[in-house]
Amino acid sequence: MLHYVTVNIDGADIHAPKGSSVLDVALEYGICIPHLCHVPGLSDIGACRLCIVEHITNGRSVVTTSCTLKVQEGMVIRTNTDRIKRLRHNIAELLVAEAPNSRAIQDIAVRCGVKKVRYPFRNSNCVLCGRCVRACAEIWHANAIGFVGRGKNRHVERPLNMREEFCKGCDYCIQLCPMTIPPCDGPMKPGEEYLCGKCESQLMITEDIPDSCAWCRLGEGFNCGRYAGLKAVR
């Protein structure tokens, strides 16, 4: 039997199944918390830090990632305070400066209010969200790819950079990868990167917190948590 607890997210008291994460609960309830590394059904590692929320306990507010935070009775969560918006903005800015050539990342950045990128663009091919690695390990138990190196040298790699036979060719890693869809104008040349996010910014004009973000249309491709939630409702 499912046990339920009541949590308060952004002022709304939500009846949520015990054991689920704050992010899942919020997404299902229609409160969109931007996120990148979270994929429904996979374990959460809290790597992208975009889904940060303020968890208010004993009058103190602690910034923590909602994907790794499990709901508890009487929990008070704020997802969209000024502090969270500012921090999320800075994280999204770091991400988009690293990988401007992904529509997903571009849209996240604009959605988090990034209007100008203050760092030089870098044009990496990977933001190390770990979606592929976890899908490979947890869905297929294949472990055909994994993280290698640490810090700046961290990258996704086959075992020992040579063992290809672990891969079962499911392509799920590619489907989940946020880097697969380039911006509408096409891939940007190195040195000419810019902040695009056109789709998302149009939505931002009409609504403060848009009902549907570009992720929802893209969402199917890389399995956005909210997309999965909406599909379940429909």
């Binding site: 809290g46 830090r49 975009l50």
Partner: protein
């Protein structure tokens, strides 16, 4: 030595050992810690051994090879009892003289005595040396009394008395209460109240619990944990056993970094010996308490000093942290309740149990009790490991124990707490070493590193050094830490190379704040401290780099220029010969000149010139 199956065995063994030891009154103590070993103390030990044999003194003199004495820069250190004669910088060539004169005839060799750099006088005993005088050595003083490889030595100085007391007369609640009242806080960096940690672990459901000793000390310049673990491993083990008894754990791990070979060796030996004599294993000292310890070696990752990363490493996974929304005292190693403490914290436990919480709480300040070991390094006269009562001011440490600046330069700042800590300027030197006070000031006690910097250090460069270190050591899992540190370093590099702007300074501050608030683990959460504290206290240095394109300390290569003062230059040609880039030209006895295009700013000529003719602008 007999098996120690019951508490009576322990007592009779101790009595017997003390009786045996009374027979030999002369003891020659030589430091065999890592610091002194690096200054060839092993050679000294070998030659002394030979000398003792040759002069037929090997039965009347006890040679004790101990752990670190703390004053590593004076190594190899030798102490001769009775009389507590303190010799430093001993070489193998001195062995004959020491054995003949001091040991046989009781003469003192002036040459080997310590010279106080402040007053210049020779000092005979350890107790009179100013470096030791100002300290309160509760943990470190035990190092010289025992051979770390000898269980007998440890038992002879009262080892395992605390364990005996705990097992036979205290309940877990009473132990935890004692630790709580003592006010002991984690010595590894966070300063979390140990009693609270133990309570939570004790109350956590589960019949299988673990205790871990964190000896993965990685801060540059810090080595207190190494010193305690390699100098007194049984003390740490005893502390762990008491903790395990209190929280209900049956298994412990010592996670020690592989770069500390001596600490690994001594810890392993201690565990083996303790097992052999029945101090680890089933039914310890005749009670129903069973406990065993394994020594695990760390693979060289700084981040594995973070509790969850350490546990992941122990589990055999990649040493990466995981979110701590549920604390490790409830969900730790293999998802079982786990108490993880630092080496120094564990080492403090036995004396709290023996001497009482009141004794421990009588030292220190309101929020920080007891003593703390600091690794004092940098541009000061006396460097080494110092143990002070909490609440001693930084000024007392730097000028009292450290003896003030070398080369007559003015001291500018002190960096406390390693890469997670911050830099405090001279006008904050009256602050006490206290967890809360230093945290308020933008730094932290941390694990206890204390690097003193004088006016020849550029604070922007210091921040850059620590960021480079952290960028290498970050596991790279979460975005703020991986990309944030990288971008901070990018900005600071811009500043040190003259490309910085004032807007970048604001961006740096904002980014530092974001990294602090949103990073996953302790490494990221404190990574910005070197930047934030230098920005807070030395903003003018940053601004000088940006607006004047000058490095006030003359460190940042892109912003400085070497030149020769023609009035001071005698034309000796020494700089010309020493310059590996052939950038200096000039005739003999004529002022030389530096070709700025060829000059690589290596600074060799500066150190070669005896007339201070080469200057930096």
């Amino acid at each position: 030595m007999q098996q120690l199956a019951t508490r009576r065995d322990l007592e009779t063994t101790r009595k017997q050992l003390l009786l045996d030891r009374k027979k030999i009154d002369k003891t020659l103590i030589i430091c065999g810690g890592t610091g002194c070993t690096a200054s060839r103390s092993q050679d000294v030990i070998d030659t002394i051994n030979q000398e003792l044999l040759m002069q037929d003194l090997d039965f009347s003199v006890r040679l004790r090879i101990t752990g670190c004495h703390g004053f590593c820069e004076q190594g190899p250190i030798m102490v001769i009892e009775p009389g507590n004669i303190f010799y430093c910088h001993v070489t193998p060539n001195d062995a004959h003289e020491i054995v003949t004169k001091t040991l046989r005839d009781g003469e003192i060799i002036e040459r080997l005595l310590y010279t106080d750099p402040v007053s210049g006088r020779k000092i005979q005993t350890e107790a009179e040396i100013p470096f030791y005088q100002a300290q309160d050595r509760q943990l470190l003083s035990k190092n010289r009394e025992i051979n770390p490889c000898s269980l007998e030595d440890y038992i002879a100085i009262g080892g395992y008395m605390a364990l005996d007391k705990v097992i036979n007369s205290l309940s877990p609640e009473e132990i935890i209460h004692e630790i709580k009242v003592s006010g002991l806080r984690g010595r590894g960096g966070g300063g979390f109240p140990t009693g609270r940690k133990w309570t939570e672990c004790y109350e956590a459901p589960g019949d299988e619990k673990y205790v871990i000793c964190n000896a993965d000390e990685g801060d540059p310049g810090a080595y207190m944990d190494r010193c305690v673990l390699e100098g007194n491993p049984y003390l740490v083990l005893e502390g762990m056993m008491i903790g395990a008894y209190a929280v209900g754990a049956t298994k412990g791990y010592i996670y020690v970094r592989n770069e500390y070979p001596l600490a690994v060796k001594h810890a392993r030996l201690a565990v083996q010996e303790a097992r052999k004599y029945g101090l680890l294993g089933e039914d310890i000292l005749g009670s129903s308490f069973s406990f065993d310890v394994d020594v695990a070696r760390g693979g060289g990752a700084f981040v594995c000093g973070e509790s969850t990363a350490l546990m992941a490493s122990l589990e055999g996974k990649v040493g990466e942290p995981r979110p701590k929304d549920v604390h490790t005292v409830v969900d730790g190693l293999w998802h079982k309740p786990t108490t993880l403490n630092n080496v120094e914290t564990w080492a403090n436990v036995p004396s709290i149990i023996l001497n009482g919480a009141g004794w421990f709480a009588s030292k220190g300040t309101k929020g920080s009790k007891g003593t703390k070991i600091l690794a004092l390094t940098g541009r000061i006269k006396n460097t080494g490991l110092v143990e002070i009562a909490m609440g001693t001011t930084i000024r007392d440490v730097v000028f009292g124990i450290g003896g003030g600046a070398t080369n007559g330069k003015a001291i500018k700042a002190v960096q406390t707490g390693g890469p997670s800590g911050g830099c405090l300027p001279v006008d904050k030197f009256d602050l006490p070493v206290d967890f809360d006070v230093l945290y308020e000031a933008g730094s932290m006690v941390g694990s206890g590193g204390m690097v003193v910097m004088d006016e020849s250090s550029c604070m922007v460069d210091v921040a850059k050094y620590f960021l480079t270190f952290l960028q290498d050591e970050s596991c790279g899992m979460c975005v703020p830490c991986r990309l944030g540190i990288d971008r901070m370093l990018e900005i600071i590099t811009d500043i040190t190379e003259g490309r910085g702007t004032l807007e970048q300074l604001d961006l740096l501050e904002e980014l530092a704040d974001t990294v602090t608030q949103t990073s996953l683990c302790g490494l990221g959460k404190t990574a910005a401290n070197p930047v934030l504290s230098t920005l807070r206290y030395f903003r003018e240095e940053y601004e000088a780099h940006i607006t004047n394109k000058k490095c006030p300390a003359g460190v940042c290569k892109a912003l400085i220029e070497y030149f020769i003062d023609p009035e001071k230059c005698t034309g000796c040609g020494k700089c010309k010969r020493s310059c590996i880039h052939s950038a200096i030209s000039g005739e003999k006895k004529e002022p030389h000149v530096i070709n700025a295009e060829l000059c690589q700013k290596c600074g060799i000529c500066l150190s070669e010139c005896k007339f201070e003719a080469i200057q930096v602008k």
